[in-house]
Amino acid sequence: MKPGHGEVLLAEGDRDVREDEQLLIEEFRRQLDEGMWAAVPTERPGSGRREAQMVRDYGEIPPEAQRVIFFPRASGG
């Protein structure tokens, strides 16, 4: 999510392909270095309840995740 623009696609690829994964890791780190927060939308099995999982490291991304959403870190308004 980018202020003034909304959703912007940063990178996409197959995590099982080495070159793609390298690209995804670099973009992930770049976003976190810029101060963004990263979250993965998830669904709690059985209940249908949805929530987000904050990820601070590329390795924390659940294997089944289809996307990671980056958004500016929260601050007191």
Partner: protein, 195 residues
Amino acid sequence: MLALLTAAVMVTALTAFLLGPAVVARLRARRRRRVEASPHAFDPGRERRAEQRARQLLRSCVNDFEWAMYRDLGFIRVEGRRLPDAPGGDEGPAPYAYLIYPHKPIVAYVPESGRLLSEYCVSFPDLTGGRTRLPASDDVLAKWMALTSDEARVIGRANMHLVGRQHDPGHVRRDIWRLSEWERLGAADLGARAA
């Protein structure tokens, strides 16, 4: 002397008449270039498209119930954390809940009584130093993700006030009533459809 003044006025008027359109055109071109060069120039089309994309993204992240709530009422309720020994466990009634509004503070309240607790002012600033802000639905999604993933962190960063600083308490109470009516009618509708 009078003749000299008259001649000067006539020369000035003639010059303005001849060069006026060219000067105006140059000024307009300069202004256009300046607007196009500005990265934060207001573009209603871009903002509208950004909001449409944001709504689609929000819809893909929250469940159908929350999406319908936002579409119909303009806010989303997120239930607060339950204590480990709370009756009903994870599926029991939440002791408190939040209302997420776009570009307004998050409101905490007690669902059982409707009592307003506090408002949490939180924003997601443009880290590039610009003055733009997230589209409304992205702002809601960012709050939703932050609250559902790490409630303590986002609440810890927010500025807390009693309800009334930015929200009209009467308006929030009406929203809570609207939400209860919406849920009652929605439940009735679901029942009718199931029947």
